[in-house]
């Protein structure tokens, strides 16, 4: 099994989720994070003074998927999260050794 982690723009999330539904996926866990890569932050203004916020809100997606599906699902995310401007985010994949479905106690691919 693989774990796909994707950090994307919050506002692309609806699109990505729709695309995932179309290709099918076993489940997803999402959290709010902040970060920056090449993107250099945005300017905000507080009582007359401008300042740079260099950690921007992003959505982090985690999906545990079977080995066979990993590449396809990662591609789906990448394509739908893309706007072409800096700040689009990163996706990375790592290996998972065991998975347990809490409800049933099942483990292995059937538990994904």
């Amino acid at each position: 099994m693989k774990k796909i982690e994707a950090v994307i723009r919050e506002e692309q999330l609806p699109l990505v989720r729709k695309a995932l539904e179309d290709v099918g996926y076993p489940g997803i866990t999402i959290s709010q994070v902040r970060g920056h890569g090449r993107q250099k932050g945005v300017t905000q203004t507080w009582r007359g003074r401008e300042f740079t916020v260099d950690l921007l809100n992003k959505a982090k997606l985690e999906l545990i998927v079977g080995d066979a599906d990993a590449q396809r699902i990662a591609q789906t995310i990448a394509e739908n999260a893309r706007t072409g401007a800096v700040g689009d985010g990163k996706i990375w994949i790592s290996n998972i050794e065991t998975i347990i479905r809490v409800r049933t106690g099942e483990t292995g691919d059937v538990a994904i």
Binding site: R9, E11, P14, R34, R38, Q39, K40, G41, V42, T43, Q44, T45, W46, R49, E50, F51, T52, V53, D54, L55, L56, T83, G84, A85, V86, G87
Partner: protein, 494 residues
């Protein structure tokens, strides 16, 4: 009748007050002069009546906070600063506009008279010194203006909104006031020779204030279009607000403010008006209660939960509904009017969804539709005694309590005139703005939220430490983009 007489007395009282102040100064020196009871009573009367008007104005102005809180609670957190600032600027721009142009168009007198359609004097309060009256009327104007921001929330350009708010306070609303409340207005119940027997009766403004705000909001909501994601392929989606706590706070503030709005519309306490004001406070209370209970029970029956958002809207609907008839109906009728108003609001919300008009906070249903109901209910429920005390001895009163159909007809006429005027002027205004500068923020800004796009700041920031390190922009620093992506549409890869 009481009110009609009152208009004349007001000016007299204010002058008397000023005269008395002078008189007083001289008499204080010679304390032992004979006591002039008539002068003293005149002074006290002016004091008491002006105090009532001022205190009522303070309460009505307090409603600005109520609107700001209800509207911000009912939108998403990313548009909170925006809706708050619209509410604040409503009051500020509205105040200046109403001072310069609005009040003169509503009540201004050039020479000794205005005409049936608009006032035409006292621009910039020139030659006008009844300040308590201006204050009270200003607070009403601010209310009418602020209603629209809710209906157009979460996607309207700030600059466009500022222009609109100037015109509603300077023109659209004041003309309706002149028609319905000025002694020369063609609809006015205070005219020498009113239309029909009694003229158009709208005690505190279900029509004059709330329908104007509500129908302007309806036009605005249609012209600016629904928020992204509200209606997708024929499906009605739900975009919940971000804080029921703010919504409830706002509702209670509005309820309290309404005690200035309705009872304050007696404009005086002397001459027996205190008893009328108290009755108005009671009908106002009962209608609000009935509106709340109705929404709670209906929502429970319809969707199985006690729906707080609808209950807030229902109470406000009850308050809007009773605003026209508050002085002329009996307490039992106030309960009926409030309950029906609440039902009208719920039906209105459903209807607007169905016809794909997006009103994020329910402003159109609460103010336009329940306001219309309120205007009509005057013709249905006003008791003979009620109209007699507040206006004139008459045999034309509520249809359902045996007073004939005439008053209902006049109410319908008045409502129709208000709708026509408001819809026409709003359509021209919003149409013009749309043509010249656009009504709506761009899509990227709408998705990111207007707080960032228009105001450069999110409304909330709860994670202190994580934000601490943000450095201020030193002069000469690389200019960063306002919107994370908008300003680099497919910008060069680095």
């Amino acid at each position: 009748m009481l009110r009609r007489m009152f208009q004349l007395r007001r000016l007299f009282a204010v002058c008397a007050g000023i005269f008395l102040a002078m008189a007083f100064i001289s008499t204080v020196g010679a304390q032992e002069e004979p006591f002039d009871a008539a002068a003293a009573v005149e002074d006290l009367t002016a004091g008491l009546d002006q105090a009532w008007l001022m205190i009522a104005a303070f309460l009505v102005f307090f409603m600005q906070l109520g609107f700001a809180m209800v509207e911000s609670g009912f939108v998403r957190s990313k548009n909170t600063t925006n809706i708050l600032m619209k509410n604040v600027l409503d009051a500020c721009i509205g105040g200046l506009a109403f001072f310069a142009i609005g009040f003169p168009l509503a009540y201004g007198l050039s020479g000794a008279e205005s005409n049936k359609l608009f006032g035409d004097g006292n621009f910039f309060l020139d030659g006008f010194s009844d300040y308590a009256t201006w204050l009270f009327q200003f607070a009403f104007a601010a209310t009418a203006a602020t209603i629209v921001s809710g209906a157009m929330a979460e996607r309207t350009k700030f600059s466009a909104y500022l222009i609109y708010t100037f015109f509603i306070s300077a023109l659209i609303y004041p003309i309706v006031v002149h028609w319905a409340w000025d002694g020369n207005g063609w609809l006015s119940a205070f005219a020498e020779d009113p239309i029909g027997t009694n003229g158009y009766i709208d005690f505190a403004g279900s029509g004059v204030v709330h329908m104007v705000g509500g129908f302007a909001g309806l036009v605005g909501a249609i012209m600016v279009g629904p928020r992204i994601g509200k209606f997708t392929g024929g499906k009605i989606n739900v975009i919940p607000g971000h804080s029921i706590a703010l919504g409830t706070l706002g509702m209670f503030v509005l309820w309290v403010g309404w005690y200035g709005f309705n009872p304050g519309s007696t404009l005086a306490l002397s001459g027996g008006f205190a008893a009328l004001a108290a009755k108005v406070a009671v009908t106002t209370t009962l209608a609000a209660c009935a509106g709340g209970v109705t929404a709670t029970l209906v929502s429970k029956a319809r969707s199985g939960v006690y729906d707080m958002g609808l209950t807030i809207n229902g109470i406000l609907g009850g308050l809007v509904g009773i605003t026209a008839p508050c002085a002329t109906v009996e307490p039992w009728a106030a309960i009926v009017i409030g309950a029906v108003a609440s039902a009208v609001v719920m039906a209105g919300i459903e209807l607007l969804d169905r016809i794909h008009v997006d009103d994020p906070v329910g402003a159109v249903s609460v103010h336009a539709f329940a306001g219309l109901w309120g205007v009509l209910s005057v013709g249905l429920f006003s008791s003979q005694n009620g109209i007699g005390t507040a206006y004139a001895e008459t045999d034309q009163y509520g249809l359902l309590v045996g007073g004939g159909v005439e008053q209902l007809g006049i109410q319908a006429l008045g409502a129709g005139a208000i709708i026509l005027w408001t819809v026409a002027t709003s359509a021209i205004l919003f149409g013009g703005i749309k043509l010249i500068m656009g009504l709506r923020v761009d899509e990227q800004e709408e998705l990111m939220g207007l707080d960032i796009g228009e105001h450069g700041m999110p409304a909330y920031s709860f994670g202190d430490v994580l934000g601490l390190e943000s450095p201020g922009s030193a002069p000469g620093a690389v200019p960063a983009a306002r919107l994370a992506g908008a300003s680099h549409p497919a910008g060069p890869a680095q």
